[in-house]
Symmetry: C2
Subunit: 178 residues, 2 copies
């Protein structure tokens, strides 16, 4: 099988439909992000494309021999922004979504690496994730591999639809001196 080719680029207005489809599936499962699963497309896109956000998409070019249907399409997206304003604006924050059909193909990792490059390019000094659900082990593992540390543990701060109250991690990575 030829591996699908992945391109990560700035999101455009034309990507909104694809991003909403992925976003909606992610919040509908309710096991990774603290969003109301009933969030409307309008609310979701206002959040994702809020003023000051940098938005990107990961586009897969699936060849004939791939396990995915042939064609080129958006399979993931991420946003990058300041986590706070004023005296906290040198720390970035990001959020990532990947379509279920493209999981396990390195899309999240590729977006994470792209994101860290962009974060440095934009002059941020650090990156912080405010809410990594501990039960989302693949995400925790990925961020640790990309140099993030668990800066804090919020006991029972997420009500997981299957597991009940689970801990949440605040994860942090300095970007200076590297």
């Amino acid at each position: 099988m030829n591996p699908p080719r992945l391109e990560i680029r700035a999101a455009t207005e034309a990507d909104r439909g694809a991003i909403w489809e992925i976003f909606h599936a992610v919040i509908a499962s309710g096991d990774t992000y603290p969003f109301d699963p009933r969030m409307s497309r309008e609310e979701a896109m206002a959040y994702w494309f809020a003023p000051g956000n940098n938005c990107y998409v990961a586009e897969l070019d699936c060849l004939k021999q791939s396990s995915l249907p042939v064609g080129r399409r958006v399979v993931g997206s991420y946003l990058l922004r300041s986590n706070q304003s004023g005296g906290g604006s040198h720390v970035a924050n990001a959020a990532f979504i990947v379509s279920s059909e493209a999981r396990g193909q390195g899309v999240g990792r590729a977006m994470g690496e792209h994101c860290l490059d962009e974060t440095r390019r934009l002059g941020f000094r650090a990156m912080q994730f405010n809410f990594v659900v501990s039960a989302n082990e693949s995400a925790v593992h990925l961020w640790q591999q990309l140099g993030f540390k668990i800066a804090g543990t919020l006991p029972g701060a997420f009500r997981h639809p299957q597991k009940g109250f689970v801990d949440v991690y605040v994860m942090f990575r300095s970007l200076i001196a590297d």
Copy 2:
């Protein structure tokens, strides 16, 4: 001296002027909150009175013998809300402002205690502060006295106008089983 009498009550539209005066002074000093000091009154009030926020004011009734000018006025305010939506909506978040003329009179502590009562009354299971500047020692100390623990430390996450990059604490307090 008769001590000033303090009342904490729900904020109304008529309190906006007083809240903005206190808020503006707090963000102008730039040493406690990660807000842009140039934030407009409109932006600030949209933040403080955002849909879903519960807003309160602390009103001092200053008698003749008090060190403050005689009269009744708003000297502090706090907001209380869900820190997250969906699976994170059982954890509350709050923000507090006190006018400089009323510091050191227990206004912050009184609002903090009132806030914890309100948080329980509204059915939250915990309270989280996302961004307590470590250099704001009186705030850190007050929250510890009110049962909060430092759940995480964000290295250098705040650029203090005098002290440069200082650490920020995420503070957390469970409200169940007490």
